[in-house]
């Protein structure tokens, strides 16, 4: 029983002492190294995106997109190139194993209502359940940091930024910058 508890604990809090197969870096070894920018276990401080509890497939694909340059970045591309396929999968597993936590953050109730309407008309088809839905194509955005959402929507919106999901580019190009702000407030208000 005691051993089971300790084993559980080690898995739960990461940094397991058990080494992986020879030559394999453990998921916690990889994931813990990201914390300098992404917070402990991916619970980032604003405006870094919270990455804990997102879908494993989504996280792995995003890292691969950064690595190949399919998704532009300031620094993530340079870092992603340091990891092999297996390591990216392992890292994604580490963050996907965490539980999503929506942080407390400020939002403007009027903008939330405006954002809610835009969400219902434009976004709910994919970002179901007011943005809570998460799958291999769709990151959870309900409760994500508002400033991050603003940044990433601006990336999709900017003509000089070539982003991976064409569908997102098309949808966001129809919106005004005020709409993007309202959407960010809406998702920030969701838990």
């Amino acid at each position: 029983m005691k051993h089971l508890m300790l084993a559980l604990l080690a898995t739960f809090v990461g940094l397991s002492s058990a080494p992986g197969a020879f030559g394999q870096v453990t998921p916690s070894m990889l994931g813990n190294a990201c914390a300098g920018c992404h917070g402990t276990k991916g619970y980032s401080a604003e405006p870094m995106p919270i990455i804990s509890g997102l879908s494993q497939e989504y996280l792995a694909q995003t890292m691969k997109d950064y690595r190949s340059g399919r998704r532009p970045s300031t620094i993530m591309g340079r870092l992603a190139k340091g990891y092999g396929e297996d390591e990216i999968e392992a890292m994604a597993t580490f963050f996907a194993a965490q539980v999503w936590m929506s942080p407390d953050q400020e939002f403007d109730p009027e903008l939330v209502e405006k954002g809610r309407k835009i969400h219902e008309q434009q976004c709910e088809t994919c970002h179901r359940d007011n943005g809570r839905h998460s799958d291999s194509q769709t990151p959870r955005i309900a409760g994500q940091w508002r400033r991050y959402l603003e940044v990433v929507m601006e990336e999709y919106w900017r003509p000089d930024r070539k982003m991976p999901h064409v569908f997102m580019t098309v949808i966001l190009s129809r919106l005004h910058s005020g709409d993007l702000k309202a959407l960010a407030h809406f998702y920030a208000s969701q838990r």
Binding site: L6, A18, N32, G36, L79, M101
Partner: protein, 427 residues
């Protein structure tokens, strides 16, 4: 905004805490399987203490730190820029003891005996250990520049330990008249925060510019012929502070050999320079306790097994952070943070008698040139033939041709890096 970390960890570990596995009070002293002593509570030591406790609450972790609070050197150039308060750089050890069960002792270590495995302090305390981690940061080579000693720091601050020195330099810069000359003496390699002196030049220029003192000159006298992110810094200086920042390389007679503190005069081989403000960042070595404990080699730094950070000079003693020799990794806060995690995982395994896990290390160093102009260097590291080496084809510096929006984002990410890394350690 950073409460999330604490709260989520508490939620995650709530069940365990209730069972008394987390935090030490419900267990008797004898319930610990081993004691790890950590000397120094900076970016390296404090991370190590927290991550050891997270990995295995049955390890008793005692952190001995001289100061009641930690003041971050990283981002302290923003204080000189007038863009940040000292308070925002200051962290307490409360969370480490309250949430993670680290026993924090505020005392100064005066001796380490690796044979009897005991540590003695100025407060006449003695601590035994199973494993010791020494994370003392840097020390200065007083006298390496003739005339630059501890007393001289009151006239010509180094500000390479943040705190009073940062504020002293800030006051001196504040008092400079338009047209004044500010010297920064940059040290030879290796030293803490390789891009730091050049970021400092930019942010002092930013401050002077905001005070409309654009006729001031900032002159960097360097012992070296090249420096970190050199092209990006030169581009940024020229773009934001035309004519204000000059860099003099070692081979252009930039190496300062002697100083005269009362007159704020610097002597190179062929010239003398008199400044209104003189910031001397002296040549460096491992923090004093490392040297005293016989953990340093002829280089002045601590040789370690780069897989576990165990000293190659003393068994069961590990050295992490600025003080250790860590292959290709620079002496930075991020390096110390990731070395601490590799070391923590190794210590857990060593105490268990299991093989130490394969390490993976990361470094990211942001520099801020102007409030909306950030640049970075990053790398992923692996162990290759016993040495930490950067993974080929990865990492590197920000592109020279980045658009303004990307520079602005990097400045935002620089500050966000600071929030995240300090949350990862102190909250």
């Amino acid at each position: 905004m950073s409460q999330i970390t604490r709260r989520s960890l508490l939620k995650l570990t709530g069940a365990m805490a209730a069972l008394g596995v987390f935090g030490f009070p419900p267990m008797s002293r004898g319930a610990y399987r081993a004691r790890v002593l950590v000397v120094g509570g900076g970016y390296g030591g404090a991370t190590l203490a927290k991550y050891l406790r997270l990995a295995n609450p049955r390890i008793e972790v005692v952190l001995i730190e001289r100061d009641a609070q930690f003041v971050s050197c990283a981002l302290s150039n923003e204080v000189l820029a007038g863009e940040r308060s000292m308070e925002s750089l200051t962290f307490g050890y409360q969370a480490l003891s309250d949430f993670y069960g680290v026993k924090v002792v505020h005392d100064e270590v005066t001796a380490i005996d690796p044979v009897s495995k005991t540590v003695s302090t100025l407060g006449e305390q003695q601590f035994g250990y199973d494993r010791l981690v020494v994370a003392p940061g840097i020390g200065f080579r007083w006298g390496a520049i003739e005339g630059y000693d501890e007393l001289a720091t009151q006239t010509m601050p180094h500000a390479w330990y943040a705190g009073e020195q940062t504020l002293l330099l800030r006051r001196q810069i504040d008092a400079v008249e338009n047209g004044g000359r500010i010297y920064i003496v940059a040290p030879p390699n290796p030293y803490r925060c390789p891009p730091g002196p050049y970021e400092r030049a930019a942010l002092i220029a930013h401050y002077l510019q905001s005070q409309r003192k654009t006729r001031c000159k900032i002159i960097i006298l360097d012992a070296k012929d090249a420096f970190a992110k050199q092209d990006l810094f030169k581009q940024g200086w020229g773009q934001h502070y035309p004519g204000m920042v000059t860099w003099v390389s070692g081979s252009e007679d930039g190496k300062v050999l002697a100083v005269d503190p009362p007159t704020r005069t610097l002597y190179t081989e062929f010239e003398e320079h008199k400044g209104d403000v003189v910031n001397v960042i002296p040549p460096q070595k491992a923090g004093a306790i490392a040297e005293l404990a016989g953990l340093t080699d002829e280089s002045g730094w601590c040789p370690v097994d780069q897989r576990t950070f165990e000293s190659t000079l003393h068994k069961d003693v590990h050295v992490i952070g600025d003080a250790c020799i860590a292959g290709a990794m620079p002496k930075s806060a991020y390096s110390a943070n990731t070395q601490a995690k590799v070391c923590a995982a190794a210590i857990v395994a060593l105490l268990d008698g299991t093989p130490t896990p394969d390490p993976s290390y990361v470094n990211t160093c942001y520099s801020i040139i102007a409030p909306k102009h950030g640049i970075s260097v990053a790398a992923v590291y692996r162990l290759a033939d016993g040495k930490i080496a950067s993974v080929e084809g990865a990492g590197g510096v920000s592109p020279l041709n980045a658009i303004a929006w990307e520079r602005e984002m990097e400045a935002t990410y620089a500050r966000s890096w600071f929030e995240n890394i300090t949350s990862d350690i102190f909250r």
